[in-house]
Amino acid sequence: MMNLRKIKKEILNTLTIAKYMILMFFREKTAIFFSLFIPVMLMSIFGVINTGGGVKFNVAVVDEANNQASQQIVTALQKVSVFTITTKSKDDALADLKNSKQTYALVIPEGFGANFAEYGAKQAELAKLPVSQQQAAVAALTVTPQRIDIYYDQSQNSSTISVGFTVFDKIFDGVTHQIARVPNFFEVKQLSISGNDLKYIDFLIPGLVAMSVMQLSIFAVTGQIVSWRERGILKRLLATPIHPGVIIFSQIVSRVIITFMQASILILLGILAFNLHVVGSLGLVVLLIVAGGLIFLSMGFALSGIASTQNTVAALANLFVFPQMFLSGIFFPRDAFPDWLLRASDYFPLTYFSDALRNVMVKGYTITQISGDLIGLAIWAVIMFVLAIKLFRWE
């Protein structure tokens, strides 16, 4: 009974201490800045750059014919989502093209659409023929093609330009079918599969969350512990009857709670503002964030044991944080790395952490599918924990 009461008291103590540590964090403006503002800013910058998504063409239309036939073409063009259509005079359109304001200028010359009438007349004659002769007559049916000029911006990438032309061809085919009353034999249905072609923001946000967990854990612990030690605050804590382990434990509890708040805010913002798709198990996401948090917290405790001043500990922490930030595939996939770097960065704790988090969050991987990353994280956790215990010191 006595022991139970004692344990309850220790837990209450830990929570009270953790509460005050969280309070301290929230009153530290620079800490808030670094742990929330920076990742949100990065998310916004990269998100805005990329949410435009895919290709978009500006097309100037010069309708010199201005008749029913030309209207039909313009209407069809306006329905194309990758085109932004503006109607202009020919001179303006070509000037825009030279300034790269427009990618294409489509000129429908005067008298356009005469062949529509020609075709109509021929078809009417066909209808008068006996049925047995109609098939042969249709095959022999010809019309004079009408010219449409399309100017394009030569400074653009040629493969991008050819994509636009493919779209134009498709539009004209469609209009031709309409006029000739030929039925469509194919219907294309667009199905997207979440494979390797993730949207960039889906790639970025889980990585940013992982990076923020790392930074918050390492910088907050190293900065705080070393400053407390330098200023004699740790010693004052040791002069109280509380078990030193409780202080460390409450520090960990408070950090993990803060990390969760931070990660939730980033993920929510991703969902609301950048249309992030979270498909995986939330439980697994939580598990990964705790695991990542513990690894980097231990790293923080180990580093604050090595360094004796705030400046050295900050330098040491950066030594661990920066290479991981850029080499763990947070901002871009590591595919482009040279082979040796790819293999080396495979083993970074942040690589395991961000890969697993990304695969669970946006690809819906299960615990067995990320078991490789989990093993990597477990090994790092053991290494860091041992280092933290060996290196951490109160004085």
């Binding site: 008291k9 005050y20 309070l23 301290m24 200023r231 004699g232 004052r236 109280t240 509380i242």
Partner: protein
């Protein structure tokens, strides 16, 4: 004669080749103000830290408030109050919050405002430590040492760096606390402070106690050895002038 609340026997401590404390023994009586005087590096702080359970001794026995400190460090910490030389506390917490925080470290419940009242800091309850003056910081440091109603209060150079007004105010506070029955152990460089506050003092140098007695007896012994001051003792000191001109009102 009242009982001893602290008994130290043949205490020793070395750091590498340096013998910081070489065989110190003394007793502190319950309810007295006991001073440790000595130049820097004499071993005062090291001795104090061993008594407080913050540092392990190489050899010797320490009993504080009935607890064998060498054997049971954490138990003694619950029975004593400690003010360390650096009076730094966490940033971003108010005095009131810090007192509550410390009471949870001691595993006790206290009325934070009453503790602050004891040291005259109720008005600063919502202030952070970094905004306090030197004297207020020291008073707060003492407040944090009082949350567990300790039997012995250890003060390590509490008035270093304070102006004469703040020093006198702190002396009043220490006398006040002692008047309520708390034993006080204090280290200092200031002889006037020791004379003013201490019932008995130990003069420490090079890790050893040279003499222990009441300030009056120590002076008597010196005079008995035929000591004569070179200059005629003045009726007043410059400090008296300073206090007369600037008043005794506390400035922070």
């Amino acid at each position: 004669m009242s009982e001893n609340i602290i008994t130290v026997k043949n205490l020793q401590k070395s750091f590498g080749n340096v013998k910081a404390v070489r065989g110190i023994s003394f007793e502190v009586k319950k309810g007295e103000v006991f001073g440790m005087l000595g130049p820097n590096g004499a071993g005062k702080t090291t001795t104090l830290e061993m008594l407080e359970g913050l540092r392990k001794s190489d050899s010797g026995d320490i009993v504080v408030a009935g607890v064998n400190v060498c054997r049971d460090q954490s138990k003694v910490k619950a029975l004593i109050g400690v003010q360390l030389q650096s009076s730094a506390f966490f940033d971003n917490l108010t005095l009131e919050e810090l007192i509550k925080f410390f009471s949870s470290l001691y595993g006790v419940r206290v009325d934070a405002m009453r503790v602050l009242e004891e040291v005259g800091l109720t008005e600063k309850a919502k202030t952070q430590v970094k905004k306090l003056s030197g004297g207020q910081k020291q008073r707060f440091s003492i407040a944090s040492a009082l949350v567990n109603r300790p039997e012995v209060l250890f003060l390590d150079e509490p008035t270093t760096g304070l102006d004469p007004q703040a020093r006198r105010h702190l002396w009043d506070l220490i006398r006040d606390i002692n008047g309520k029955g708390m034993t006080v152990v204090i280290t200092t460089h200031y002889m006037d402070e020791a004379e003013e506050l201490c019932d008995r003092v130990a003069v420490v140098d090079k890790g050893q106690i040279i003499d222990i007695d009441s300030p009056a007896n120590l002076i008597k012994k010196l005079l008995g050895r035929g000591f004569k001051k070179k200059k005629v003792v003045q009726e007043a000191t410059l400090e008296d002038v300073f206090l007369d001109l600037t008043g005794k009102t506390l400035r922070d």
